[in-house]
């Protein structure tokens, strides 16, 4: 023990000590907040004691006397606590938290400068005195802790500068800012990560496997028979290796969560709230870099929940809620992403207040406000500088909350959603991708080059056939806009924006519009062609190319060529697209659309509009528009006429191993057959809607029938029904009109400003036998 370690050794040991102590202090932090809830838990005290003891021991060895002295004082206090000579109370916890902050501050200093600091402000004597006082004072007289300590001859007057010993608001704020900004540990833990040896062994095995496979491939002759087998093996080894490496980079979100009990505790004191923090799914793994990336958004969100969400205790009692508010942090895996929710049971967000504020700030007009859905209203909260807080507090309310959260999340390919119910609370849901290095993307082709668009920014894809291009693309001034379901989208031509050569027009070839959504901007990106969606590996670009500002990286595609990854928000900004909230009023006005269907396309009131033919009526008048709730339509299929079979005179279709009855209300099948028989190679437009969100229009020649495959809710047995229609016109929002039986027995709706008959038997008469039911209508 007398041997002095040499300099290099000391450096190495110091590094290890810093990382270890940081982990220890993180544990101590969560233990302390836990201890406050369970004051009798001896295990917790022992754990804290061990942490402080280890720090004391190691610092003594390394010669950090200042840390050692502080840790020693803490250890004394904790020893008394462990031996049950002291009782846990909030003052004691405060003191221990101070101890932790003090230790952490010194560790940060050591990490930055290599020394403990010798300036006058680096003096811990006050804190040490306080810790000693806590120990002696409490052990002598347990009562002291309850009432403010009285000045006695033995004790000095309570050291006033002791930060936050009493719940002095200002001091607590300071500590909050310290814990929040220093990110406690981000500085120290960043360059190293702890990996399970098991995972490392696995990785090594897989690398070995990779080398073997490579050897075999190198040795095999070109065109070898077993090539496909080797390729498969290479594929599986790669996938396994990738998963293992990702696993090694994964850290439980609990690491991040563990910072919050302390923050919420201090916040609660400052804002006068009683808050309990609950965790769920702390073990959910997330890539280390992402964990760092969501730290700030999560901090913002939790602050909001405590400051804005949870009501003051008096208010909670008044509305009959438990005095203690609950903020729940939940993490779980869902669809290849990690969802992190911050749920509070507070007052919720009042849409009226938000709207009033939005009108006051000129974001929306009162008329628009009257027609906005709750979801649209909540969306306003993400606009920069928007805050509904009555007064600006030190914690939140400056209006730089949610927009920062959203932008931070989008930067890492994530999303934020907000749900709120007045009186019962708010949920902020963050969707985080599993990794930053590999992202799903759509590769598009424009002006002779390939570009990758991250799927997270892609809302939908639209193919514009050549003959429709004139109609769907309109001009307002110099801007081109695209009309998508009665909503005008600014259209950005990628090749023109980037100054690429424009591909000469080929007859009969249309173009694609990728509808992009990022950082509140929504626009259509016109490209020449789409390639397959791919999982791309993101490679950073050099500084000079990053400076251009519209590429977030590059990737090597499956065919070995490179594609640049577009930063969608920057592309929008470069093309002059403004965020939607500001833009809405203008585009809606330009679209001259009725407010009710201008901005709210939702599944529940969206309608599929289609045409059916009424036979027996003269040619030209035989078309009738009808609509059906989108929720009832499962798929829209183009079916070759000869695949439609007949069973006892009724048309049926084999569909996905099911035999489904077809309903031919307007005699479309007969019309089609007649056309086919007269050998007229009629081209029939048929459209295909893959899903409510994505729309793809396909052309087909020859006799094809368009069939809406409908689901009957509630009905058992024969559930699917195919509706034969002439063609599908559009999917649009509609408003049901009040039923006026005298004027018209059918349910009518306003869809795209036209009266349209609604085929709504699907929801109304589910109990009846399906065939009869539909016959009646026909």
């Amino acid at each position: 023990m007398t041997r002095r370690p040499d300099k290099g050794e000391v450096e190495q040991l110091t590094k290890e000590f810093l990382v270890e102590s940081q982990e220890g202090l993180d544990r101590m932090e969560s233990c302390l907040t836990e201890l406050e809830l369970h004051p009798d838990d001896g295990e917790l005290v022992s754990e804290i004691f061990r942490t402080v003891h280890t720090i004391k021991g190691t610092t003594g060895f390394l010669g950090f006397t200042r840390t050692q002295a502080l840790a020693h004082a803490g250890e004394n206090l904790l020893g008394a606590l462990r031996d049950k000579r002291l009782k846990v109370n909030s003052r004691l916890i405060d003191g221990l938290l101070k101890l932790m902050d003090g230790l952490r501050a010194i560790l940060t200093l050591i990490a930055a400068t290599g020394t403990e600091g010798a300036r006058s402000e680096d003096d811990d004597s006050e804190l040490i005195a306080h810790l000693a006082q806590l120990k002696t004072g409490d052990s002598k007289l347990a009562k002291v802790s309850k009432s403010p300590p009285k000045t006695s001859a033995m004790e000095q007057p309570l050291p006033p500068p002791l930060k936050g010993a009493l719940a002095d608001t200002k001091a607590v704020e300071e500590t909050i800012s310290v814990t929040a900004t220093s990110g406690s540990g981000a500085l120290l833990s960043e360059p190293s990560v702890r990996v399970d040896v098991e995972v490392l062994n696995q990785m090594m095995n897989q690398v070995g496997e990779l080398v073997l496979t490579r050897n075999q491939i190198l040795r095999s002759a070109p065109g070898a028979k077993n090539f496909s087998e080797l390729a498969r093996r290479l594929d599986s080894v790669t996938v396994e290796l990738r998963e293992t490496v990702m696993r090694a980079r994964m850290q439980p979100v609990g690491h991040l969560f563990s910072k919050f009990p302390r923050m919420v505790r201090d916040l609660g004191v400052t804002c006068g709230r009683r808050v309990r923090l609950e965790f769920e799914g702390s073990e959910t793994g997330l890539d280390k870099s992402l964990l760092e990336a969501i730290r700030d958004p999560l901090t913002h969100t939790v602050r909001n929940a405590v400051d804005h969400g949870i009501e003051p205790p008096s208010e909670r009692v008044r509305v009959g809620k438990p005095v203690e508010g609950v903020v729940r942090m939940r993490a779980f895996h869902h669809c290849g992403a990690v969802i992190i929710e911050v749920i509070d049971d507070g007052a919720g967000i009042s849409t009226e207040v938000v709207l009033a504020k939005a009108i006051e700030r000129g974001l929306v007009t009162p008329e628009e406000a009257a027609t906005m859905s709750q979801r649209d209203v909540l969306q306003l909260l993400f606009v920069a500088g928007f805050s509904t807080a009555k007064e600006i507090t030190c914690i939140s309310g400056r209006g730089v909350g949610l927009d920062v959260v959203r932008n931070n999340m989008e930067r890492v390919g994530g999303r934020v959603e907000l749900e709120s119910r007045v009186g019962s609370g708010t949920t902020v849901r963050m969707r985080v991708p599993l990794t930053l290095a590999i992202v799903p993307a759509l590769v598009v082709y424009s002006g002779g080059a390939s570009f990758a668009l991250p799927q997270s920014t892609l809302a939908e894809l639209v193919y514009v056939p050549e003959h429709e291009a004139e109609q769907v693309v309109e001009r307002i001034g110099t801007t081109e806009v695209f009309r998508l379901r009665e909503r005008l989208l600014p259209l950005v031509w990628l090749d023109r924006l980037l100054g690429l050569k424009q591909i000469p027009h080929v007859d009969g070839v249309g173009f694609y519009i990728a509808v992009m959504e990022s950082e509140g901007c929504r626009f259509g990106l016109a490209v020449n062609d789409l390639k397959a969606p791919e999982e791309i590996v993101v490679k950073p670009l050099s500084e000079e190319l990053r400076e251009i500002g519209i590429y977030s990286g590059a990737t090597v595609l499956g065919d070995g060529t490179l594609a640049l990854i577009l930063d969608v928000a920057a592309v929008g900004a470069r093309a002059g697209v403004r965020p939607v909230a500001e833009d809405d009023a203008k585009t809606d006005e330009l679209a001259k659309a009725t407010p009710s269907n201008a901005s709210q396309i939702r599944l529940d009131n969206s309608m599929v509009i289609y045409e059916i033919a009424k036979h027996g009526v003269a040619e030209g008048e035989n078309v009738e528009r009808m609509a059906m709730p989108l929720s009832a339509v499962e798929r829209i299929e183009s079916v070759p006429l000869d695949q439609i079979e007949y069973a006892s005179g009724r048309p049926v279709l084999q569909y996905c191993g099911d035999l489904i009855p077809l309903v031919d209300e307007g005699g479309v099948l007969r019309e089609l057959r007649a056309n086919a028989e007269t050998a007229a190679s009629n081209r029939l437009d048929s459209e295909k809607i893959a899903r409510a969100s994505g729309r793809e229009i396909a052309h087909s020649r020859g006799a094809m029938a368009t069939v809406l495959i409908c689901m009957r809710p509630e009905a058992r047995g024969l559930r699917r029904v195919g509706m034969v229609v002439r063609r599908v016109l559009d999917v649009s929002a509609g408003t049901l009109l009040d039923k006026n039986a005298a004027a018209c027995p059918e349910q009518l709706a306003m869809v795209k400003k036209r009266v349209t008959m609604v085929h709504d038997e699907f929801s109304r008469q589910a109990a009846l036998a399906p065939m009869e039911n539909l016959r009646e209508v026909a």
């Binding site: 980037l498 100054g499 670009l541 050099s542 000079e544 251009i548 090597v556």
Partner: protein
């Protein structure tokens, strides 16, 4: 910056120079500065990038920014095949690509045979060239790769200004 060719040291008197050709002219780069010769490669164009950037090429899992030497000389693009050199010594953290017309053989030169740029040289060449060697067949202009580094070019007034001009001239 170890092994920089711009600081000739007495300890190492001869240098092996890789000869390259651009528009019929002969240039040379110290082989210590060349990591690899990629052969005929077509860099992926980066729209809106400065004119002297030919694009990006994949290299060992990285994406290398590639400088077009022709563009630096103010010449139009080569009609035939191009050749990309990966520039950057072993300890260089930021290698980059240099696109030239073709790569020739390696010649051994005495370092002190390097003659400085003549004072009458135009500003552009003065900026790019690092003297010349006399060869039996004529002059071989010596290039210091650090002067061709994209990060340095971006800061130089002469080339940084040329941004945004390269539109439509790809491939």
């Amino acid at each position: 910056m170890s092994g920089s060719a711009s600081v000739p040291t007495d300890a190492c008197e001869s240098a092996s120079i890789c000869s390259i050709r651009v528009a019929g002219r002969l240039f040379g780069i110290d082989t210590l500065q060349i990591r690899e010769v990629l052969g005929t490669t077509v860099p992926q164009l980066v729209p809106l990038a400065p004119q002297y950037i030919a694009g990006v090429v994949p290299y060992h899992g990285e994406v290398l920014t590639t400088v077009s030497f022709r563009a630096l000389l103010g010449l139009s693009e080569h009609a035939g095949k191009n050749c990309v050199l990966v520039i950057g010594g072993k300890e260089d953290k930021e290698p980059f690509g240099l696109m030239v017309d073709s790569v020739g053989g390696v010649v051994l030169m005495e370092r002190n045979a390097l003659q400085e740029n003549p004072s009458g040289l135009d500003a552009r060449s003065q900026e790019l060239f690092d003297g010349a060697y006399r060869m039996p067949s004529g002059l071989m202009v010596h290039l210091d790769p650090h002067r061709l580094r994209p990060s340095r070019l971006a800061q130089s007034e002469m080339f940084g200004r040329l941004k945004q001009e390269r539109h439509g001239g790809q491939k």
